[in-house]
C-alpha cells in the first residue's frame, strides 16, 4: 500500500468514526432522561449516577466526534474513544452474563431493541478503528497532532 493510499484510508476512518460518535452524542444529548433510563437498565450505578452519566457521556462522545472530524488532537481523541468502546464492550458483556435483556441505548433511545451481541460486534469494530487511528505513525497530520 502506498503512503498516499494509507493516508486516505486513515482520513476516511477518522472522519467516519468521528461522524458516528458525533451522531451518537447528539442523539443522546437531545433526550438525557431517556438515556438515563437506558443507563439505569444496566443496573450498575446508583440512582443519581445514572442521570450524571447520561448527562455527561454524550457530551464527551460528541466532543470526541467533533475533534476527530476536525483533525485536532487525533491521538488523544482516538485513545479516548478506544477506552470508551472497551468500557462499553465490558458493560454489554456483563448484561449477557447477568441475563439482562435490555436495549444497548447506544444511539436513538427507545424504538427497536438492539441486542447486546449486535452492540458488542459494532463496538469491537469501532474499537479496532480507534486503535488503528491511535497507532498510526509517520504522518503528523494523521497521527499525533
Amino acid at each position: 500500500m502506498t503512503p498516499e493510499t494509507r493516508r486516505y484510508i486513515l482520513t476516511a476512518l477518522r472522519i467516519g468514526l468521528g461522524l458516528v460518535f458525533l451522531y451518537a452524542g447528539v442523539l443522546k444529548i437531545s433526550d438525557p432522561k431517556a438515556f438515563a433510563s437506558s443507563v439505569a437498565a444496566y443496573k450498575v450505578l446508583p440512582y443519581f449516577f445514572n442521570y450524571l452519566v447520561a448527562s455527561t457521556i454524550p457530551w464527551i462522545e460528541a466532543l470526541c466526534g467533533l475533534l476527530l472530524i476536525t483533525g485536532y488532537r487525533i491521538k488523544a481523541t482516538s485513545g479516548l474513544i478506544a477506552a470508551m468502546n472497551a468500557m462499553f464492550i465490558i458493560l454489554l458483556a456483563s448484561t449477557i452474563i447477568r441475563g439482562l435483556d435490555i436495549d444497548c441505548g447506544c444511539f436513538r433511545q427507545g424504538g427497536d431493541k438492539t441486542s447486546a451481541w449486535t452492540a458488542i460486534g459494532r463496538d469491537v469494530i469501532f474499537l479496532c478503528v480507534a486503535l488503528t487511528i491511535f497507532s498510526a505513525r509517520g504522518d503528523r497530520r494523521f497521527s499525533t497532532r
Binding site: I29, P32, K33, A34, A36, S37, S38, A40, A41, K43, Y47, F48, N50, Y51, L52, S55, T56, I57, P58, W59, I60, E61, A62, L63, C64, L67, R73, K75, A76, T77, G79, L80, A83, D103, Q109, G110, T144
Partner: protein
C-alpha cells in the same frame, strides 16, 4: 545517576544516553497525551453538567422538573410527581404509607405484579377511573410503576391522575422488573 561506560566500549555511553533521552521524551509524550484526554473528558463533563443542571438537580433532590412533567403538573395546585428509587418505594410499601398502582396492561399484571398493587392500565384509564376513585382517596400517596426504566406509562398515568385531583404521586422508575430482580414480594407470577 551518570552511567558508567565499560572500559573499551566507545559506543556504550552515547547509546545509553540516547536511550534515556528517548525514554524521557516518550514519558513526556505519554503524559501530554494523558493530559489531553483528561482535558477532553473534563470539557465534556462540564458541558454536560451545565446543560443538564436542572435535570441533575431534580434527580439529586428527588424533585421532578415541571418542564419534564409537562403542563398538567402546573395546572394542579400543589400537586407533585417525583421519581422514586427502589429503596423509597419499598420503604413506603413496607410501612403501608402508599398505594401501589400498576400502569401496565391487564395481561402483564396477571402474569405478575408487585404484591398489593392495584391494576390501572393507562389504556383503560377512563373506564376504570370511577371505581378507582371510589376506593382511593385523592389525598393518598400513590406509587405508580410499569415495565421499568424507559417505560413511560407510569408518568402518563401520573399526569392523568393529577388532572383528576390526585396530588401525591411517586413514580417508581425501576418498575416490576427491578422489584422482581431484587427478590421483593410479588404476586401472580408463575413459579
Amino acid at each position: 545517576m551518570t552511567p558508567n561506560p565499560s572500559p573499551g566500549s566507545g559506543t556504550a555511553r552515547p547509546a545509553c544516553v540516547l536511550g534515556r533521552k528517548d525514554s524521557y521524551i516518550m514519558k513526556k509524550h505519554h503524559k501530554k497525551l494523558l493530559l489531553e484526554m483528561v482535558v477532553i473528558v473534563l470539557i465534556g463533563v462540564a458541558a454536560g453538567i451545565a446543560f443538564n443542571f436542572r435535570l441533575l438537580r431534580d434527580a439529586a433532590t428527588g424533585t421532578f422538573s415541571r418542564t419534564e412533567a409537562g403542563p398538567v403538573i402546573a395546572a394542579a395546585d400543589g400537586a407533585s410527581m417525583n421519581p422514586a428509587p427502589l429503596a423509597q418505594a419499598r420503604e413506603l410499601l413496607e410501612r403501608n404509607e402508599a398505594i401501589i398502582i400498576d400502569a401496565r396492561e391487564g395481561s402483564a399484571f396477571s402474569e405478575g405484579h408487585i404484591k398489593g398493587a392495584l391494576s390501572l392500565p393507562i389504556g383503560e384509564f377512563e373506564s376504570r377511573l370511577k371505581s378507582f376513585r371510589a376506593t382511593t382517596p385523592v389525598h393518598s400517596q400513590l406509587v405508580i410503576y410499569c415495565s421499568g426504566y424507559g417505560c413511560r406509562d407510569s408518568y402518563m398515568l401520573g399526569e392523568k391522575l393529577i388532572a383528576h385531583g390526585y396530588g401525591r404521586i411517586l413514580i417508581y422508575e425501576g418498575g416490576y422488573p427491578e422489584w422482581k430482580d431484587a427478590g421483593l414480594p410479588i404476586e401472580g407470577a408463575a413459579p
